[in-house]
Symmetry: C2
């Protein structure tokens, strides 16, 4: 990394945008990985993608004005679901409220008037974790983002896998073994994300509540229709047996899936983040046991299972920012 004389002493920033099915975050990130501003938009509140892009752009401008960084921002990095890094388009997204394809990079570049780099959201998260988080210094790891959906990012031999159209590591859509036939937004059944996303965890909780009506649980006192993965996590925090069983089953599914992923990538570690990964302490034991039981002996007992070392959501933002900074290295 070399700075020209004129740049020495001037902090450099990137706009970082993390587009999710539920929330979108816009932030200013310094080169050293400090997030100096951060705003949240509710993705589903925008009826069409143009009004959404306008809202992102005006949020970004407000952020830059407030912090006086307008002159120091070098570009905008974006992580978004189903984003084709080659074209900058969101293609066939199942978790967004607007029709695909969406020429996101082009739309944002016009609205912001600056260079925009865009990748798959989970790949951005993996880049952030590799640069600043739990996978710092690792050349081989698999990132799983457990949120509204389940996403993957795979670093293999120091390279973040992209694939022909930027759709490598769509690990949330690998079909589990011995599934219950849960329908997925993609039109198929039993994708990993129908078990390990936020709504997948809720489905498992509802299933257990119904299957074992005599099992006391604080979840029964809640509005079952409005139940969230966070509720199930809080119940587990209180030692609720049924909630703990929900997490055990979630970890078991995840560990079995990771056993397959290991045969593909031979990783040093799996890194988990996203809203659901906040319950990591509740599912890590089942995850490890299931992985070690199901993985080939080459990997069994040899792969670390790590929660994200970054604040939830930071990984995606830091990774998005890295798209801009890495270009200059």
């Amino acid at each position: 990394m070399k700075n020209s004389a004129a740049e020495v002493g001037r902090e450099r920033y990137a706009l970082a945008i993390d587009l999710g099915g539920t929330n979108t975050e816009v932030a200013l990130v310094s080169r050293k990985g400090k997030i100096t501003g951060r705003r949240r938009l509710l993705t589903r509140c925008y009826g069409d993608v143009r009004s959404f892009v306008e809202a992102v752009a005006s949020t970004a401008r407000e952020l830059m004005d407030t912090t006086g960084t307008t002159e120091s921002v070098e570009g905008a990095g974006v992580g978004a679901p189903c984003l084709n890094a080659a074209t900058g388009c969101i293609e066939a997204a199942t978790d967004l409220p607007w029709p695909s394809p969406i020429p996101l990079r082009e739309l944002l570049s016009e609205a912001l008037g600056m260079r925009v780099e865009a990748v798959n959201d989970a790949n951005a998260a993996a880049a952030g974790e590799a640069g600043y988080g739990a996978a710092k210094g690792m050349k081989n790891f698999v990132m799983l983002t457990l949120g509204t959906g389940v996403g993957g990012g795979v670093m293999c031999d120091g390279h973040l896998l992209s694939g022909r159209s930027g759709f490598a590591a769509e690990l949330g859509h690998v079909v589990v073994r011995n599934g219950e036939g849960r329908p997925c937004g993609c039109g198929r059944c039993d994708c990993l994300q129908t078990y390990c996303s936020a709504s997948g965890v809720v489905t498992t909780a509802k299933k257990l509540l119904e299957e074992f009506p005599g099992w006391p649980s604080m979840l029964r006192d809640m509005d079952i229709e409005a139940l969230t993965a966070a509720d199930v996590s809080e119940a587990a925090d209180c030692g609720d047996g049924l909630a703990l069983e929900v997490w055990r089953r979630t970890g078991e599914r995840l560990g079995d899936a990771c056993a397959s992923f290991a045969a593909f990538a031979d990783p040093e570690a799996f890194v988990f983040f996203g809203g659901v990964a906040r319950a990591f302490p509740h599912f890590v034991q089942a995850l490890r046991e299931s992985f070690d039981r199901n993985a080939l002996h080459l990997y069994s007992g040899k792969v670390a299972m790590l929660p994200s070392a970054l604040d939830s959501g930071d990984a995606a933002l830091l990774g998005a920012a890295a798209l801009i900074f890495n270009e200059k290295e």
Copy 2:
């Protein structure tokens, strides 16, 4: 590629060694990919690995003497199962008759007195296919080697995946969905290779013969205990309905597995080779249909299914040779 003046006009060669669970091939390969000599050893005939290595070395010397190429050989490339490219050792091989770990690169280097480069056999095959075969010019493809076992090689973004210990792309040991509980040499059940290796195909044939005793088949006239995948292929060539059903089921399993692999690598093509892949015309339709039915819409209908464009076995030898030549490019 630049040659020094002294090298112009002198053909350059590599020794190529393809170590398999049943056969081992030793060959001389020119830089342009011409195989000028070729010998076969029966791997299982050697009681220990040292006598095997000695046999390989004397075969190699005999080849070089006969062709007068001793002075023109630049090194030996090796493809072997479960080979850790980082250490040059065969680790925990389940398809070889000798105990692991086997320091193959070191043993061969001593016996041959030349530089030895070694990788996983399927990775070598993928390198050969990328350089000279069906995947020529492709940056994203998945190779499946269907032989005594099932191996994988994954080229993603122009890079052959290696992983932490050289054990990436062990695709034969990914567990299938809805398996019958077939035991695998690795100690687990329902690995892909228990269905799509040569012995997996034979198991499927025996199962159908037993399950449908009234279904006439020329396979019934054979010694069932000595049945081979080649027999099942020949019966299918003759239009034998039961044999064709064996291949349909094999293609179906393979297509479902490829649907998962696509979610990992976003490939342009799958390339199939090895003894079992000679029956490609018999299983390609079921393979394609199963892939398109089971894959995420991002990949469905968009990935080519290709048989190896190289003579059976050539891919592994050419890939092994490429390990030597690529170093000089």
